[in-house]
């Protein structure tokens, strides 16, 4: 069961990039933003989607599982840390295996970096940088009860489907009440690309 975590509500995201800027201030990757802000239907819709690390719980951290150097550690509280600088060999296995497209890699530095839920802050009970600055609450940090105290009746999902595989995550997404019993589609199998049916 999810505890204190990030709840993402893409419906509230206005694409202002405040989270992207704030992420750069995180002490563990100063100057580099680890959050992704994508515009899924750019040119046709103002929809935007912020992506932080989903901190996969089952299967636990695919990025860590495929790492050949045991560089990605998962802390006891379920936070998937960014690569250990001493161990990472820059192979990019994690970058290409992550189902959510989260990790980044610096090929010159042979180093992977990713969202670590602002561990320097969350370990002390503070909200991550992105959730702290989000003006619309598209990124909310807290418990489900705290979220529901602010948004009565809100429903969240913490499972995503990729083909036949269901991935349960530590970070959750806000979903309409009638969709809560289903895992959120992760985009695989790809049935549509830019409006074109590719089934």
């Amino acid at each position: 069961m999810m505890g204190r975590t990030i709840f993402i509500d893409p419906g509230r995201c206005i694409g202002c990039q405040a989270c992207v800027s704030a992420c750069r201030e995180c002490d563990s990757h100063r100057g580099k933003s680890m959050i992704h802000l994508d515009y899924p239907d750019e040119g046709h819709s103002v929809a935007s989607l912020p992506t932080v690390c989903m901190h996969c719980e089952d299967p636990v951290a695919p990025c860590a599982e495929v790492c050949p150097a045991d560089a990605i550690l998962v802390t006891a509280d379920g936070v998937v840390q960014q690569a250990d600088t001493t161990r990472c060999i820059g192979c990019a296995n994690c970058v290409n295996a992550c189902p959510f497209g989260v990790p980044k890699i610096d090929l010159q530095a042979k180093l992977q970096m990713k969202c670590n839920l602002c561990y320097d802050r969350t370990a002390y009970g503070l909200a991550p940088m992105c959730a702290t600055v989000c003006p619309t609450g598209a990124l909310f940090y807290g418990t489900l009860d705290e979220l529901r105290a602010e948004r009565p009746g809100v429903q969240v999902a913490d499972s995503f489907t990729f083909g036949d595989v269901v991935v349960h995550t530590g970070v959750a997404m806000v979903v309409p009440a009638d969709k809560v019993q289903w895992p959120v589609p992760g985009g695989l199998p790809v049935v549509e690309i830019n409006g074109r049916d590719v089934r």
Partner: protein, 371 residues
């Protein structure tokens, strides 16, 4: 940001095997891995003991005062071989390990690019260019630490194994002979510059290590990025251990030169305890990266070799941006299959397209109001 072209390939059926994917090796039970690791550790330790006995000319050259150090190196050999075996048994490491060695032993690869491997070894393992891309100061400090440790290891390991001997025909010099495995390598005057360097090699190494380790220790206390998530046993103990070894080693020289040997025995025990502890710690903590880092060369050689096949890079199925070499992508898909991460097909999409496709799916199937 430009929109990707509309020509994405349809995805194959979920159960179709990845093209050219290496067949999954038979799964290994944890008990089988543990058994193999113990066997490997025992075999390497036994080989080292044999090498010590033979190299010291049936223990004639073995210095019994250095016995604790030699015993610690035998434990070190066991620990490193054990952990290495466990490490390369995990699916991700096992596949990369095989591909790396396959590239290493490829005669065709050697004929095409004979300088590639030495260049990679010098760049990644010797001069650690990648560290310079992370931070110039960290690179400089790590070079001091690295070369100091290499120098110290080259001197002390053969000495503790009885492979090196320094003998004088006159009993107390200044003419000395250096022998390896009983064979005379060179003769030198202890009072010459070469002699000074020979007898103070470990002092030089200690100065290099203290400078490098002190910088890292300072950084671990001051740099907020480094402090995030650091652990005392993993990040600080190795630095403290290196500094203790180096300082006690220098104090031994100080004692013999300025104190006429005062406190030497106590310092020698302190030094020995710190070295033995560190040697035994190597396989279990941060120092294991010394053993792991050559995997970076194997990985680079594998990618380099597959790039030289003149095949085009595998591109994202949606936006056609390059991902990596076909061999690399197939290797990763194989690893994911081994781990039962059955969304390996997803490895053929770039990270951005994965996010955008997920966003599209959310728009279409979850929350239409999002549009």
């Amino acid at each position: 940001m430009t929109e990707p072209p509309q020509t994405a390939e349809p995805t194959p059926a979920p159960d179709s095997p990845a093209q050219g994917a290496v067949q999954a090796p038979a799964p290994q039970t944890p008990a089988a891995v543990r058994r193999r690791a113990v066997l490997a550790g025992t075999a390497v330790s036994a080989l080292l003991i044999l090498a010590i006995v033979l190299g010291s000319r049936l223990l004639r050259d073995f210095d019994s005062a250095l016995l604790p150090y030699a015993v610690a190196t035998v434990f070190l050999a066991f620990g490193v071989a054990h952990r290495y075996t466990v490490w390369v048994s995990a699916p991700g490491a096992r596949r990369l390990f095989r591909q790396g060695w396959r590239s290493f032993f490829s005669a065709a690869n050697f004929r095409k690019a004979p300088t590639a491997l030495p260049k990679m070894i010098a760049t990644y393992l010797g001069f650690q260019k990648f560290l310079g891309a992370r931070s110039h100061a960290r690179w400089a400090a790590h070079q001091l630490l690295f070369w100091g440790c290499v120098l110290a290891a080259l001197i002390t390991f053969p000495l503790t194994w009885g492979w090196f001997t320094f003998t004088s025909d006159t009993g107390d010099g200044p003419g000395y002979e250096m022998r390896i495995w009983g064979f005379k390598i060179l003769g030198f005057d202890a009072l010459s510059v070469l002699g000074w360097l020979m007898f103070h090699g470990l002092d030089i190494a200690a100065v290099l290590v203290i400078a490098g380790a002190s910088y890292f220790l300072w950084r671990r206390m001051k740099d907020r990025g480094a402090i995030t998530g650091q652990r005392f046993a993993y990040d600080l103990i190795p630095l403290i251990a290196l500094i203790v070894i180096s300082v006690t080693g220098l104090l031994l020289t100080f004692s013999s030169i300025f104190l006429h040997g005062g406190g030497y025995e106590f310092l020698a025990i302190l030094h020995m305890v710190s070295v033995v502890f560190t040697l035994i710690y190597i396989p279990f903590g941060k120092f294991f990266h010394i053993v792991q880092r050559p995997a970076a060369v194997g990985m680079q050689l594998f990618k380099y070799t597959s790039r030289r096949k003149d095949e085009e890079l595998r591109t994202c199925r949606r936006c056609h941006e390059p991902i990596d070499t076909p061999d690399y992508v197939e290797n990763l898909r194989g690893t994911m299959k081994d781990l039962k991460l059955d969304f390996d097909e997803w490895a053929e999409y770039c990270p951005r397209c994965k996010r955008v496709l997920r966003g599209n799916a959310y728009l279409t199937h979850v929350k239409k109001g999002f549009k």
